[in-house]
């Protein structure tokens, strides 16, 4: 470890200690405590607001983004140290959003200087909350099957259609959506990546209740929505599929690794808590738990190895589909074991285990199903023939 990094570590540790409100220390990450930001955001506490302001002022809501947009300009190694020390300090993430995870990376790669200047500072400050409009009813895994159309009306686009599985669309300020701007082009062409304000007349949302009882997703409807042309499209017109593919790969890595606090070092034992004697003595539960821990540790190392490879400029490419596939299937196994270990306790909604368990069933569907990931691996990585 270089001296610079060591001094960065001591600086950041001191900064966290000096700025983290004590009441946030060690707080559990859940729907009640996450800070999503946005126009209508109501902070859970003054502490949450303060922590966001302090972090944003130091560029730490988006540590690796350029400082000119409110990012921290950190190197990868510095970011890693920052995250380690946040974990050590029991500090919650100051801000989470689809703007940080998805739109920001897309703009940084495909956006014009004007688009970056307009949107990135709002994201880093938590002023605008974005949602994602990819899927459509009836399309399922076939994401390129985009029917929502944007017609060229001279100075604006007229958008009509319907999206589904838009996360928190009912709470978002803006949406980045795939729309068809050329109906005569082949399926994967003729799609554009469009930015739309959710307050525009004609945009409406309807929450979808899930089997877990929660409604994190919506249907989103566009009825003659007028979108001013200036700055509406990210990347080239009709080449939105390139942007979408880039983000899908990005999302896959995120979903594969994110689930269930794997990277924060949570073990099954942490998640199960005190185990009933009979459950602990059951060789089936025990063997499954052992296998899960082995696979989870090896998978966490794989996430690290792939990051190291990407950092070293060794293209990971389609192999990221493997991370998505493996990570989500692992998380489903994890929660099956937790349910089994907690036995009848876990069958009561109020105990909280069941909603998490049911939530994981979507992991292998959203962001590309496991089946699509396996197709990608076999065709693009293993180069298996199509006939």
């Amino acid at each position: 470890m270089s001296d610079n990094l060591e001094s960065f570590r001591s600086d950041i540790t001191a900064w966290i200690a000096g700025n983290l409100p004590s009441e946030l220390q060690g707080i559990a990450r859940n729907e009640e405590t996450i800070c999503w930001g946005g126009r209508n955001w109501r902070f859970a506490s003054d502490a949450q607001r303060l922590w966001l302001e302090h972090c944003h002022a130091k560029g730490l809501t988006c540590p690796r983004w350029p400082t000119e947009y409110g990012g921290g300009g950190l190197s990868r190694d510095e970011e890693k140290i920052f995250r380690e020390e946040m974990l050590n300090a029991g500090a919650p993430s100051p801000l989470e959003s689809f703007g940080i995870w998805m739109l920001g990376p897309a703009l940084l790669k495909f956006g014009t200087p004007e688009q970056k200047a307009e949107h990135l500072p709002d994201i880093t400050a938590g002023r605008i909350r974005w949602c994602q409009g990819y899927s459509e009813p009836g399309a399922g895994s076939d994401l390129a099957n985009v029917q929502t159309k944007a017609e060229d009306m001279g100075d604006h686009w007229r958008v009509n259609g319907q999206k589904i599985w838009t996360s928190y669309a009912d709470k978002a300020d803006k949406i980045f959506a795939l729309v068809r701007t050329d109906r005569d082009a082949p399926k994967h062409l003729g799609i554009s990546f469009m930015l739309i304000d959710m307050q525009t007349p004609g945009v409406s949302t309807k929450p979808i209740r899930l089997i877990s009882g929660a409604s994190p997703f919506c249907e989103t409807f566009f009825d003659n929505v007028k979108v001013p042309k200036d700055g509406a499209i990210v990347g080239e017109q009709n080449r939105g599929w390139d942007v979408a593919k880039y983000l899908l790969t990005h999302e896959r890595e995120m979903i594969g690794g994110g689930g269930g606090g794997l990277l924060s070092g949570s073990t099954l034992a942490d998640m199960i808590g005190t185990m009933d004697a009979d459950a602990a003595a059951d060789p089936v539960i025990r063997a499954e738990a052992m296998e899960l821990e082995v696979d989870a540790m090896a998978f966490a190392l794989t996430m690290e190895r792939y990051r190291d490879m990407a950092e070293a400029g060794q293209g990971v490419g389609h192999a990221s589909a493997m991370l998505k596939y493996y990570g989500t299937e692992l998380n489903k196994r994890r929660h099956e074991i937790i349910m089994s270990a907690r036995g009848s306790d876990a069958l009561d909604w109020d105990a909280g285990f069941a909603a998490n368990w049911l939530r994981t069933k979507a992991n292998s569907i959203e962001g590309g199903t496991s089946e699509v990931m396996l197709d990608i691996i076999s065709k693009r990585v293993l180069d298996l023939p199509s006939k």
Binding site: G140, I211, D276, D278, D282, A354
Partner: protein
Amino acid sequence: MDKLLDSDDEVMLRDAARGFLDENAPITAFRANRDAGRPFDPGLWAEMARMGWAGVLVPEESGGADMGHRAAGILSEEMGKTLAATPFISSAVIAATALRETGSDRLAEISGGDALYALAIDEHVKHAPTRTALEARQTGNAFRLSGRKCFVADGSTANRLLVLARTSGADGEDQGLTLFDIGADRAGLSRATANSIDARDFATLDFDNVDATGDDVVGDVDNGLAALAPALRTGQAALAAELGGLSSGIAAITLGYLKERKQFDRTIGSFQALQHRAAHLFAEIEVTASAIANAGRVLDADPETAQVAVSLAKARASQTAKLAVMEGVQMHGGIGMTDEYDAGFFMKRARVGTEWLGDYGHHAAIVAAARGV
């Protein structure tokens, strides 16, 4: 022993049950109950009682239909297919079997559908009858029950309770347990309904010096497991059958979806990877069906030796249901995750059915022990 096939009578029973359930208790009825916060429909249960389902294991002299365990399994299997929620297993199967030995007067009330029983047995998160600490202090012919029972299926709606209590010995011991049959309205009993994921009734029961007498004892004092064991076995077999039906139910819905849904310009059921998984699921369901049929057959022929056959059925049915609901939800994709679609109901009921009366490991251990593992 009978063949592993439905007899002509059983085929008729199954057809009649399926027809009745499709009309009177389809999945939409379950959804309506769930939305109304109603664990089951008393009117439907009264109808079932009139058809003899509540008395399926009650002797004819007590007004029952006395059709036997395979028949009970067939009814349970068909109810599993449409997720029909009823007190069938608690009352018509478990309580009827427990009380049949002693020729209790309550049998007529069971077959009439009026006695709604619940079995209060477990005190921990896993099914373990010997881990009973709930105490029944004896003074002469009087007992006072104090302690807690959890995961009592139908515990809030029942008007009568079978309670396993400790009259001697220590937590974990086989002996010293006594089975009581008491009204659910006795003083000192409080019931807390759980917010169950399968939208049915289970409850935690607190006993604070609840009075009972020797007349309430089923079987012999200190030998309650002997009285309970046959009833537990029949309940486990019926629950296995329900899970078998549940697996067939979600598999049929999933197959239908695979044949209809188009993606990438093809019917998704034409994708070979999904075909092989559907075929594997078919194999598991078929193999489980054999174990379920066999459990009913052995219970009818020789109930004392039936535990291994019953545990085999419950173990297999639990594992198969888990696979069936996971494949069902995954193959449906996003829509399978929505509350609007039925797949989630099957997944949640499967989880509860897996835990109730002994999970996979509990029953697999019984099977394995019989095979010397």
